[in-house]
Structures are given as C-alpha cells and as structure tokens.
Symmetry: C3
C-alpha cells in the first residue's frame, strides 16, 4: 500500500530536520487559513520554525541559492502543516491550485524559479499524482522580518475525506 500523504509529509519534515509548533496561528487580526466553498486559502508563510526565522537576508548577496531553496522548503512545509491542521487530513486536498513564491532578491539575482522549484518538488512528493499546481515566482525587495522567502497557496478541497 502506498504511503499516505500524512506519512510522506512527516517523513520529509523529519528528513529535513524540521518540526513545527503544535498549532500554527496567524496574528491577532488575520488567520493562517480560510475555507470557503471547496477552496482553502493559506496566508503567506515565511521560513519560521518554533518562532525563529531560519533563513534571512537578500538572496544572491547575503544568502546563497542553496539557503534560499532551504527557505522555500520550510515555507512550503509550513503551508502543508497549516493544510493539515485546517483540514484534519491531507487526504482532503483535491488539488493544489496556485502557489506564489516571493524571493527577497539581490539586484541581479534572477534564479527565482530555481528557488521555487524546491517548494514545487515537495508538493509533488507529498501530493502526487495531484501535486501539479500553477506558480508565480517574483523577486521582491524585502519581506517581513527579513525573511529570504515567503510562500502562499490556494488549494481545492474535498468536502469529506475519501475512504482509504
């Protein structure tokens, strides 16, 4: 029997040496996710692990491509962790609709797609064959708390988890 998405998620976070707090929360005045009419919106996630931003700085200057890819992995895993806590099970995900990847970039850093690939690869690993998604990657000038990467996501969901 194939590994469940929840198992795959746990395996990847474990392999990358990451764990998240029990409950991921938004600020006082916004939510980490909102569900409406078969869609789940997820707020922009920065590479935060237990309250600390683990990759900061401008990519291509203070921060390497490799570190930026690591940041993208943490962001997307945090998105998936929010999915999991919001839906109860990752099996309720029908399709990843859109992923926006914002990279705090140096003036001449043009590999935003290569940064985003690290996030997309994880979506495929966890949700295949339904991991396909649209994506927009841009290079921004700053991000909250000097994070190197920020990612948000929109997901189509099933009303109920299918039987195994």
């Amino acid at each position: 029997m194939a590994a469940s998405r929840n198992d795959l998620f746990d395996e990847i976070t474990h392999r990358l040496g990451i764990s998240f707090e029990e409950e991921i929360r938004g600020g006082a005045n916004y939510e980490v996710s909102v569900e409406n009419d078969g869609q789940l919106f997820i707020s922009g996630m920065i590479p935060r692990v237990h309250g600390e931003i683990v990759v900061t700085g401008r990519v291509g200057e203070a921060t390497s491509l490799e570190d930026a890819r690591r940041a993208a992995q943490v962001c997307i895993l945090r998105c998936i962790a929010v999915l999991s806590q919001s839906l109860g099970s990752l099996e309720r995900v029908k399709r990843i609709l859109r992923v926006n990847v914002y990279v705090q970039s140096a003036a001449d850093f043009t590999q935003q797609s290569e940064v985003a690939d690290a996030a997309s690869d994880i979506l495929y690993a966890v949700f295949a064959p339904d991991g396909g998604h649209t994506r927009t990657s841009v290079g921004v000038y700053q991000l909250p708390k000097n994070a190197s990467v920020e990612i948000d996501m929109l997901v189509a969901i099933r009303e109920n988890s299918p039987a195994d």
Copy 2:
C-alpha cells in the same frame, strides 16, 4: 441592536477624515471589481482620495511606519468602498478570503506585517465576527504613482442580502 457594517464603515471613514468620490472607477480597460460565482475580486487599490495619492514614497526612508499604516487604512477603506458600491450593501459579504498587501519598502525595512495590521484591524472592526482573512504582505520596489502601499482583496459573497 448592533451597528450595521455600513454604519461602521461610515463611522471609521469619518473618524479618519476620509471620504471617497461618488463612484470609484478602474481605468479605461479594467474594472475595480468583478463578481463571479459567489466571489468578488477587487483590483489593487492605492491610497487615493478624490484623485490624490495621499501617502507616497518608500517606507522606512521617505515615509514613516506610521504614515504607511495610514496608507494601508486608506487602501483597505477604498477596497471596502468598492465592495459597498459593487454589492449594494456590505451585509452581502460572507467572508473576506484573501488580502494582498504590497509595501514600497526601503532596503532594510522589514515591518510589512505591521503596515498590513492597520488594514486587517479595519476589516475586523467592520466585519466582525466574519472579518477573519488570509493575508500576504511583501515589500516591493515601486508602486504605481509612487504610492507607499497597494492592497487587493478577494471576498466571498451571498447571493442576496440576509433579512435584518
């Protein structure tokens, strides 16, 4: 009886000393809002009041955090004004789904979330208990007409206004 959302909106704009033109329009070739299948999309709004951009310049350099928060308030109130004119009544808003906050930032300005909070607070004040929303805040390099902040929004709507 609780104040209506329309009254709360009027009260906040009055308190902040803002009023908008009779009808808010897009350019010649785009719309301020598009309604489709229970969702209302709102175009990116800059802090324009009666044709004038009231807060301009790079935040953390030419423009203070306080002024940027004021800009975010004007942007979100303008979004709500568009909601109101598009829907007839703010009571038709079912849920705020997503808010994107773009802040024209200095190289080392990392308080985009604090800017966005000023907009989120107003959404809560007007739409509570349905003001909860997802949010993405990023620091961009420039914005149309040198605006300090730009905000767009997606809202879930009811087909008809509920009876009072």
Copy 3:
C-alpha cells in the same frame, strides 16, 4: 458575423510578429494551467517566444516604457495561448477574473499601470464585451531570467463551448 476570439487572437499575434511554440509547458514540477470547478489558473508568464526572453532588464533604467509595454503584450498573449491550449477554444472563457502584473522596476519608475494597460488592452480586444477584469500592478526588484515583466491570470470558464 463578428470575428471569433480565436481569430482575433491569431490576428493580434500575427500583427505583433509573435508566434509561440506548439505546446507551452511548465517546468518539470509545475503546470502552466490548472482547471478546477469553473476556474482556470494560469502560471506566471514571462515574455518568452520560442525559448528566448524577448524583453529583459529593469524598466526605467535598462529598458524603456515602450519596451516594457511590448513585454506585457507578449506575456498576456502567452497567457491567452495557454488558455487556448488548455480549453480547446477561447469561446469557453466566461470572464477574466484577475490579472497580476509584475514589472521589474527602477527605483523611481512609477508607471506600472501604463505597462499593465498594454496587457489589458489586448484582453479587451480579444474578449470584448467580456474582457473586463480586475488588475493589480506592482514594481518588483527582479524577475526570473531577468524578464522585464511577468503576468499571471485567473479565468472563469464555461463547462462547454456555446454553440456558435
């Protein structure tokens, strides 16, 4: 009889001297489009023609407003080409819901809306009277492969093409 959208699209690409590859594809790990529940999402498109990015560099510095508008035209035509290949026919487009326009900007370049207008004009030319759309235009610091402009799109679709 009015020209069909497909004919209008062909006419505009021909007039602008552009043609696209047989099939437009995403990367190894993301899709150019995802369809779900009456909506079609399109990934961020840069001004690529047969594998070459035809307009690069920072607008207002290395690149002129005129060239940036040309870039926006190529991006939106590429989005429409993806629509066409994904839907079979442009007649299945019900409404353009949202267009995001990212412009790689110089520090003092504030005409992002004028760049975006070049894309919006094409949407009107092809989809009138249903070309109306919401739009957000921002000035970013860099874009993948040093592209001057990137555009993504969300479209409402009909389940079946209407009879002519």
